[in-house]
Point group: C2
Chain length 339, copies 2
DNA sequence: GCTGTTATCGCAACCGTTTGCACTAAATTT
DNA sequence: AAATTTAGTGCAAACGGTTGCGATAACAGC
């Protein structure tokens, strides 16, 4: 039923091999026959069979997109959706397929990765998260599989391709922004040091704090690993202490919303009693009241660059493992005030 | 490098055809040789080549996931991420691949769909949204392509497979819930009638309103098609009018958050001045303060069922176009009060 | 006019699986 | 014991493209 290379060849009065060669613009085919063949192709609406060409070329033209295990927090973060959109857009343009990989736990994901690679189903992977210790990355490294990381690489940083923002710089920028508004007591709220973006933004915060000679005692470094579970105690303590900060750098919009809730509960108003700057510029930042001042990290661009890199490496096997840094920018809204 | 069917055959001392047949448990192979072959397969870690088997079987074992055009609102709704997770999970289990399809506008998406089907890249599609008029659906229908819809089918409802909640019932349930709390002035906030889930939930609301003999004037039906653009006027008017409602049914958590903002701005407090019940039970519902009472629609299950249906129809070509209704349930939180 | 190039294209093998059919040996029937 | 069935397995063609190599023709150089 579908039109094959033979149909085109027959209509153009040439052999299938000639059709194949004109498809890849092989110079050993004359201009005139190429034209003939191209006319036949468009007339029939020919599109080369994906499976067949992959089989012959020994590739799959598909990249696997690895999501964090669904049990983990932060899963429902539309950050991932945005990145996927970027990846997908680029893949669609370049005639690549992509396939989402998820699982309840690491073993499920590993299992899927294993059978996919053994069956030649994917040419490479994009890993949508990066943490300090991760069995998935370990496996990919061991097996010598091609992958790019969204977020900074931790181990083997020099041999792995990754796409990231300069989160340290962004953390600094956020802190300096608050400083310029007059804040001197600035705290950092992260979501646990396991996730690299959080620890990087914290590092940036600390760097800026020491440069600006801010007083940043250890209590000013708080974590809220779970957005749900009611373990807000450390944050609560900080916000009700004598020495409470006048502003906070928060590693994610979602966390900032959670922080707003706590403030609400203990009667602090934003930005009057506490200024907040966060990261990602997600819908959350636009919808809460007050709207959040946040650092936009060009999420979709992360996906586009990741796809571009992996495809580039698939098609040119021994490129070097470059790193791509996507810029960020501040979006000023109403959650920070001058003091 | 990768292990092929010939390697297994050689190790087991049989022919490739025998290996292929034991893979699909063909009864004409004796128990003993099957055992022999299976041992060889596990010893070598054999996994049949995806492309080759697809070529021979004339299928692709991959399903396309069609996202709404990215320009449209509501895009950044983690609803889609959850559904994708469900789809992906099911696909991974059944050894199917999936591929995300996006685009800036409908033509881009159509283009991708066209080349994908012509090149035999996908066996079917899952469409993640449903609206009253959609060129994508038109195209799929015209070409006789296999697809399932997440959300209710509008045209050709009896010939299309769709997975949905009973949004009319859910709309009723939400309204009745408020009624039981003592509310009599209940309004509905939707995001435009083009999206079917919104118009269905409204229909449910109206049904309940008339059954319960509520006074629901036309002004009680308001829409907020854009969450951003500051076109909040109709909502504002409603909330500041003489006859303002004491409770609202809101078609989506995100919209509910936007509503909370407006209330904040005009000095209405929730739930004291206005009770809110919304839909989806997304992160938004859990993070705002007060937390939203919301109707959970089992989002991930929608994805799982969609994947199950499409695969079922791919493997059994002339099944009937069944509909699947996924149940919902109320999650009570703090955004509604008894009056 | 003969040989050596060069440009252009087709033949046929191959990628790894699947499957109709033929074939062998054992089991059953006459 | 010969004939027929049956169970179990292998051969080879096919799926739709790709590509090394050889074939042909045109053309240049001597």
């Amino acid at each position: 039923m579908p039109v094959t290379i033979k149909d085109v060849a027959a209509l153009a009065g040439v052999s299938p091999s000639t059709v194949s060669r004109t498809c890849k613009n092989n110079p050993s085919i004359s201009k005139e026959t190429k034209e003939k063949v191209r006319r036949a192709m468009t007339e029939l609406g020919y599109e080369p069979n994906f499976q067949a060409s992959n089989l012959a070329n020994n590739n799959s033209r598909t990249i696997g997109i690895i999501l964090p295990v669904s049990a983990k927090e932060a899963y429902e973060n539309s950050f991932y959706l945005e990145v996927i959109r970027g990846i997908s857009q680029f893949c669609n343009q370049r005639q690549y397929a992509n396939t989402i990989i998820t699982g309840q736990d690491e073993n499920e994901i590993l299992q899927v990765i294993r059978t996919m690679t053994r069956s030649g189903q994917v040419d490479g992977f994009i890993v949508l998260y990066s943490r300090h210790q991760d069995p998935i990355i370990d496996y990919l490294d061991e097996e010598g599989l091609l992958y790019v990381l969204i977020g900074k690489a931790y181990q083997l940083a020099n041999q792995t391709i990754y796409i990231d923002n300069d989160n340290i710089l962004a953390g600094q920028a956020a802190t300096e922004y608050l400083y310029r508004l007059g804040h001197r007591k600035i705290a950092y709220l992260g979501c646990g040091d396991d996730l690299i973006f959080s620890s990087d933004r914290k590092a940036g915060y600390q760097l800026a704090a020491s440069r600006l000679r801010l007083d940043a005692p250890v209590e000013y470094n708080v974590n809220m690993p779970s957005v749900f579970g009611d373990d807000y105690s450390s944050v609560r303590e900080l916000l009700t202490s004598e020495n409470r900060p006048s502003a906070m750098v928060v590693c994610d919009d979602i966390l900032a919303v959670a922080l707003e809730r706590i403030c609400n509960e203990i009667g602090l108003s934003i930005p009057d009693d506490l200024s907040i700057i966060s990261f990602n510029n997600s819908l959350f930042a636009k919808l809460t009241s007050p709207q959040l001042t946040t650092i936009d990290i060009n999420t979709a661009q992360l996906g586009i660059e990741a796809a571009s890199q992996i495809i580039n490496h698939i098609e040119n096997p021994n490129l070097l493992a470059t790193k791509i840094i996507v810029p960020h920018f501040i979006v000023e809204r109403n959650s920070c005030r001058q003091i």
